[in-house]
């Protein structure tokens, strides 16, 4: 692969293998994990919870795809099918996507990237994990005791009056989990403001910090609104208080306003952290400062800000006024601009870079391609006359999966691979990782691209049965989902395998510039042996010594 692999040498902060304590081996008792206030251990706890929910949500998705293989409702009953897509949405959105990058990668990396010993409020951090688990328990109880069938959007008055399923219990679960999100966001905001290492000015911050900061603002400002909306649904359901039910003098459209005021920005909670991960990966694997660094950093804030003013684009056929529709459409197009700027800048960064096509880079490049597709198909939906036809069809389903799966999950997996050596002290196996990344990319496109076409033909979403002329697209989709499932299982295997058999990772195997790589892998409990001082802007690769740059070149060094 390369011509002159420079042997990895121990350098001052880089004892390749030392029997010293790290955050993993400092204590093996279960209590030391459940009562830990170490952000790194809490990140691992989140990783376990999130992986569990991803598997659950994935099983629901497979049931949906199997049912839709044929036009008739022959595998599941209509009620069961409705519960499947509802719980798929709830689990994936609230218990996987929203916490995924912030709570796992963010928890682990943010304090290290700012050069701190921990987050600003370590106990609050642990509390937020317990709150997340508590919310998850409520929701799981709701699911095993019969489930919920409102769709993850909980539209009233169906959810507040007509559904006979466990709406209240699920709502409590989501309400509770929301607080975990608020507390995590708060913790990140304070940490980034107050705990940056000496010399780490705002415009020296790695772009991951910028995007996590923007994400945290949305979490703190938006989540309370959806929490209130869900409480109001519960009150109407349990005590007949007329808020949304027109028979009690309520307004069902009000719920949609409250719900989307949070849930549209929530899309950016899911995708902004991925953008941050992709920026880190591209910088490291091209050895380049991200082109237009400042603009890319500020575009994250722009997305967070503009994202709060576009919620009405979910309601173009709800009966809202013509002029409300026009304003929301107009504003929605503006949120496309900072996203486009990011894509162009990432691409420009590759030009004349020193590009290493390792697995994280595969995911980053996949992210850019799929996010571009997802973003551009968003233009269809922001466009009023077009949205009337395609809203509530499979076109929407395809679009948001391009953003949430093609975007957010590609970023998450890229980040997991990129920081895996830091988190575990082991290298993952490059060959199966590349195969999996490839399968995920192919499987993803085969699953969701046909849904754009069948959506335009008019297939409504959330349909248990459908007219037979739509079958050919659904067969493609189900075939793609099967490939995607295989692609997701493979990393589970080789990542677990690497924990025991993977090569030991050096402190900085990729030759990266950010602070988390300037401490051993896995890091000691206190993160840094000495408090770091920052003297360069982010991504200044010329400041790294050849030894550090050589790092641990995948494929070049011998197995441990």
């Amino acid at each position: 692969m390369t011509t002159d692999p420079i042997p990895a040498q121990p350098i001052d902060f880089d004892p390749v293998e030392s029997p010293r304590d790290n955050y993993l081996n400092v204590n093996y008792r279960i209590k030391s994990w459940l009562l830990t206030v170490d952000h790194k251990r809490i990140a691992i706890l989140y990783l376990l919870g999130i992986t569990f929910f991803f598997v659950i949500g994935g099983i629901f998705a497979l049931m949906i795809r199997l049912e839709l293989l044929t036009p008739r409702g022959d595998l599941l009953k209509a009620d069961t099918y409705n519960k499947m897509f509802t719980m798929h949405g709830i689990v994936m959105v609230f218990f996987f996507l929203i916490p995924s990058i912030p709570a796992v990668i963010g928890n682990f990396i943010v304090p290290m990237m700012v050069g701190a010993r921990d987050l600003a409020f370590p106990r609050l951090n642990l509390a937020s994990w317990y709150i997340y688990i508590l919310g998850g328990v409520f929701t799981m109880i709701a699911m095993v005791s019969g489930g919920v069938d409102t769709g993850w959007t909980f539209y009233t008055p169906y959810s507040s009056v007509y559904s006979n399923t466990h709406v209240a219990l699920t709502a409590i679960g989501i309400f509770v989990t929301g607080f975990s999100s608020i507390l995590t966001g708060l913790n990140f905001i304070v940490t980034i403001h107050k705990m940056r290492a000496p010399g780490l000015t705002w415009f020296r911050m790695p772009l991951f910090l910028w995007s996590i900061y923007a994400t945290s603002l949305i979490m703190v400002l938006g989540t309370p609104v959806v929490a209130i909306a869900i409480v109001l649904v519960g009150l109407e359901r349990l005590f007949n208080i007329g808020v949304f039910n027109p028979a009690l003098g309520g307004d069902p459209i009000l719920f949609q306003h409250l719900f989307w005021f949070y849930s549209h920005p929530a899309v950016y909670i899911m995708v902004l952290p991925s953008m941050g991960v992709v920026s880190e990966i591209i910088a490291t694997f091209t050895r380049r400062r991200i082109f237009g660094y400042k603009i890319v950093a500020l575009s994250s804030l722009a997305i967070a800000l503009i994202g709060f003013f576009v919620w009405g684009h979910h309601m173009f056929v709800s009966g809202q006024s013509l002029y409300a529709g026009m304003i929301f459409s107009f504003l929605s197009f503006f949120v496309a601009i900072p996203s486009a700027i990011k894509v162009f800048n990432w691409t420009a960064t590759l030009y004349k870079g020193s590009i290493l096509l390792a697995t994280p880079m595969y995911y980053a490049m996949g992210f850019i391609g799929l996010f571009t597709m997802g973003g551009l198909t968003g233009l269809f939906l922001a466009s009023l006359g077009m949205d009337v036809h395609v809203t509530d069809t499979y076109f929407i389903v395809a679009h948001f999966h391009y953003i949430m799966v093609g975007g957010a999950i590609m970023g998450y997996l890229g980040g997991i691979h990129y920081w895996w050596p830091k988190i575990t002290g082991r290298m993952y196996a490059e060959v199966p990782a590349k195969i999996a990344a490839f399968l995920i990319f192919i499987g993803f496109n085969l699953t969701f691209f046909p849904q754009f076409l069948v959506g335009y033909l008019g297939m409504p979403r959330r349909y248990h049965e459908y007219p037979p002329e739509f079958q050919v697209y659904n067969v493609m989709s189900t075939a793609g989902a099967s490939i995607l499932a295989v692609g997701y299982v493979i990393p589970l295997v080789y990542l677990l395998w690497s924990l025991k058999y993977g090569r030991r990772a050096t402190a900085n195997p990729w030759g990266a510039t950010t602070l988390e790589w300037q401490t051993p892998s896995p890091p000691p409990t206190e993160n840094f042996l000495e408090p770091p001082v920052v003297t360069h802007e982010a991504y200044d690769f010329s400041a790294l010594s050849p030894e550090v740059l050589a790092g641990h070149f995948p494929g070049s060094a011998s197995k441990a």
Binding site: A247, I337, L457
Partner: protein, 324 residues
């Protein structure tokens, strides 16, 4: 139903070709930029592969001209898309004044439809080709959405209010009718057909079964049996010429008396009190069905000119360019 691989649904309304043209334009933009970015990434990724482990490329900082270019060009493109889409939407919100008005009520899990001449149908909508048809939608329970892909139109039917959609069919045939807003167990069976017929055939169909009363006639009857007539035209505001006129209320606010206002005044009679009157009318909430409300509204709308007794000049008919 066949298995042919089609990319566009049937084009059967005046909206269809307009929406399809925008769709093709949007796909061109999407394909151009997705391919551009994708090919660039693959090309650059292979072209600039790392030659040696310690290689560091010469630093490159941003270029202002480039940043401006890839901000302004997308901005221009999205503004074109905005105006294009808004123009179609504006038409969608402006039903022609001579449109045939058909009432549609969604309920779990069927569409109940009534034509102005009185004929009712369920999960089927017969319409004449080449004539504008306006649907006034409501729902008896949860939110539904009336969706005809071949017409490229969709509108939610919301409980507690009226929404409006319109289309002009251009091709005789049968087309899918779907409920597009998730509404519970049998959501995917809340489907039906829109049958576009030659105008003559439509006329024949309208009278082809034992006729139901037209909504106006039924509304007039209700107006009497419910006792409305006892007050309205005597000590309560008269109904003649009321529809689409400007109403002034005791709190000083004004509103144009559209379908939703009439509906509210029947069901929530004290919400808005016309200036000079007392809030004495009883509410008809939960007393009459959604269909009966629609019939009453139809009847009131039919009273366009002041009746012979006169005395309703306080409600000058407002010019009504748009009904939304």
């Amino acid at each position: 139903m066949d298995q042919r691989f089609q990319l566009l649904p049937d084009q059967a309304s005046t909206f269809a070709p307009r929406v399809d043209l925008l769709y093709l334009f949007l796909w061109s933009v999407t394909a151009f930029f997705t391919l551009l970015i994708f090919l660039l990434i693959v090309y650059l990724g292979l072209r600039y592969r790392r030659r040696s482990a310690t290689e560091v490329p010469t630093p490159m900082h941003g270029g202002t001209a480039l940043e401006i270019a890839w901000t302004v060009i997308p901005l221009i493109i999205v503004m074109v898309i905005f105006f294009w889409g808004a123009k179609i939407y504006f038409t969608f919100y402006s039903p022609p004044a001579d449109a045939i008005e058909i009432h549609v009520i969604g309920k779990q899990w069927m569409w109940k439809i009534q034509h102005p001449e009185g004929r009712r149908e369920i999960n089927e909508l017969h319409v004449p080709v080449g004539k504008a048809v306006k649907l006034v939608l409501s729902s008896q329970d949860v939110i539904h959405s009336f969706y005809v892909p071949a017409f490229r139109v969709k509108q939610d039917a919301v409980p507690g209010r009226y929404t409006v959609m319109w289309f002009k069919a251009t091709r005789v045939g049968e087309y899918h009718l779907f409920c597009a807003e998730y509404c519970g167990t049998e959501h995917s069976r809340m489907v039906g057909k829109v049958i576009v017929m030659e105008p003559d055939a439509y006329q024949a169909w309208l009278v082809g079964s034992p006729a139901d009363q037209s909504p106006v006639v039924a509304g007039e009857k209700l107006f009497k049996t419910l006792g409305c007539v006892a007050c309205h035209a005597v000590q309560a505001p008269t109904m003649a010429g009321l529809y689409m006129s400007q109403q002034k209320f005791t709190d000083g606010s004004t509103v144009v008396a559209d379908d939703n206002y009439l509906r509210e005044s029947i069901l929530d009679s004290t919400a808005k009190i016309v200036e000079g009157y007392q809030p004495v009318m009883p509410s008809y909430r939960n007393q009459i069905s959604e269909e009966q409300v629609m019939q009453l509204v139809s009847y009131i709308k039919s009273l366009k000119n002041p009746p012979r007794e006169g005395g309703s000049t306080q409600f000058p008919a407002a010019p009504a360019p748009s009904q939304r």
